[in-house]
């Protein structure tokens, strides 16, 4: 059964930005899109172990800080070399000002 876990407060993430969230020995990235929606993915790039939370959010793209690999953080889709493997995404909901993610 997947659990909903509180990741952060709404105000912890700036618009068009990302923060890191660690839980249960795993690392996630929590995104706030320019249209004020929240999304969550695995916290590390699928190319090499770099924290996506140090990267750059542009529209619906997260760019890895190490090699500039790009993913669509809404779908997890890898957008081309040097990233070839899609990113795992997680369901997100906002309740009482808290961002919750569902972790399997």
């Amino acid at each position: 059964m997947a659990d909903w876990v509180e990741a952060c407060a709404v105000g912890d993430v700036d618009e068009e930005d990302v923060i890191r969230f660690d839980h249960g020995g795993r690392t996630f990235a929590i995104y706030r899109s320019p249209d004020d929606e929240f999304f969550a993915t695995d916290g590390f790039c699928t190319h090499e172990k770099a924290h996506l939370a140090d990267g750059l959010v542009m529209d619906d793209i997260i760019e890895c800080p190490k090699h500039n690999g790009r993913f669509n953080y809404k779908t997890g889709q890898a957008k081309g070399a040097p990233v070839c493997v899609n990113l795992q995404t997680y369901p997100v909901k906002v309740e009482a000002g808290k961002v919750m993610i569902q972790i399997a």
């Binding site: 800080p65 500039n68 957008k79």
Partner: protein, 362 residues
């Protein structure tokens, strides 16, 4: 003092095994602390500066080519070829580099178009070089891992000198493209290009070779050297500026370390060289924060220079600093230049290289 261990620069050899075993491969590197808000602002992308610079670049290329053709057969064509050669054979390197990182333009396809054109001008396979450069950033000057170490130890000074002429590119890059066009990748190339991308390298090489064949055919048809001196051959006579600036990025500094302040150099350069080089003279800054576009590197430099060695004040100064190091490396290949940090800097991160540093550093 630790004994010298012979460096093996292949990417599938003894040094590779050692780098992986010791944790040097894919290690976590030192970064100067920069507040998220500041680095986010510096990372912001914009099409404007790169569109402006690319229009200037194209106009200068076409203008110098037109002048060279107009004055063909007279000595007046020489200055035009001088400019054209540097734009073709040198400035293409920085365009290749920035667009390969995807930082020059905000719009992805603009980066991709300029990247493909610049790759062709440089005789570089756009696929294999994209991956080799990713490796260069993961494992900067880690022997056995980094595919882009320009001057190996002990230094081959003749080879380094020949690099200024572009002869080595014809000797190695062109045959490499032919080999790749026939579907053959070396074990080194296979070590950094994922299997699912390797067929793209073959297709790209075939396109490059097809364009060179078409250029030669055009020259034969026209009974003129003009097509080949404008396409391909500028890699010989125009590459010197790329080598002059590019060699300084890492030469004479430490290898097998995980702190870019130890293995990478920032050099202040004149405005013309900075236009040709697209600010890659701020090279420590680029390696620490590769997401920062070229036009924001001077601002990044101002922000973090308190934590970096003093930049060389000129290209000339940097070469004067490097030359005696290279001479000493001929006899003692472990020797390198350890540049002083300012009192405001955090100490070098030295856990992987304390023995080497005490034994070999100046």
């Amino acid at each position: 003092m630790a004994g010298t261990v012979k460096r093996d620069y292949s990417l599938v050899g003894e040094s590779t095994r050692r780098a992986i075993e010791t944790g040097l491969a894919s290690a976590e590197w030192y970064h100067t602390d920069v507040p998220r808000k500041a680095i986010k602002e510096l990372m912001q992308r914009s099409d404007g500066p790169a569109i402006r610079d690319t229009i200037l670049w194209i106009v200068a290329i076409l203008g110098s080519a037109a002048g060279a053709i107009y004055f063909w057969g007279t000595w007046w064509c020489v200055p035009f070829f001088f400019v054209y050669g540097v734009l073709y054979g040198s400035s293409s390197d920085s365009r290749w580099h920035e667009c390969g990182h995807g930082t020059a333009f905000r719009t992805r396809w603009m980066n991709d178009v300029v990247y493909q054109i610049a790759s062709f001008m440089l005789m570089r396979n756009p696929v294999t070089w994209r991956w080799s450069h990713a490796r260069h950033h993961t494992d900067t000057i880690i022997v056995g891992r980094d595919a882009e170490i320009a001057v190996m130890r002990p230094p081959d000074l003749l080879r380094a000198a020949l690099a200024f002429t572009g002869i080595l590119d014809f000797r190695y890059s062109l045959p490499a493209l032919v080999r790749q066009a026939f579907g053959k990748l070396t074990p080194d190339e296979k070590s950094y290009v994922p299997e699912m991308e390797q067929h793209k390298a073959v297709i790209a090489a075939r396109w490059h070779i097809a364009i060179y064949i078409a250029t030669i055919a055009l020259a034969v048809f026209m009974r003129s050297w003009i097509p080949v001196v404008l396409i391909g051959v500028p890699r010989l006579y125009g590459t010197w500026h790329m080598v002059m600036t590019g060699l300084l990025q890492h030469i004479g500094l430490a290898d097998n370390v995980v702190d870019h302040r130890l293995n990478t150099r920032t050099v202040y350069m004149n405005p013309i060289s900075r236009f040709i080089y697209w600010n890659m003279n701020y090279h420590v800054e680029h390696h620490m924060f590769p997401m920062v576009p070229y036009h924001a590197l001077p601002r990044l430099h101002e922000l973090i220079k308190h934590d970096l060695p003093e930049p060389n004040p000129s290209i000339w100064h940097a070469y004067r600093e490097v030359w005696p190091v290279l001479l000493r490396q001929l006899k003692y290949e472990d020797y390198f230049l350890k540049r002083e940090l300012p009192p405001t800097a955090r100490p070098y991160r030295g856990e992987f290289h304390e023995v080497n540093m005490s034994a070999a550093a100046e």
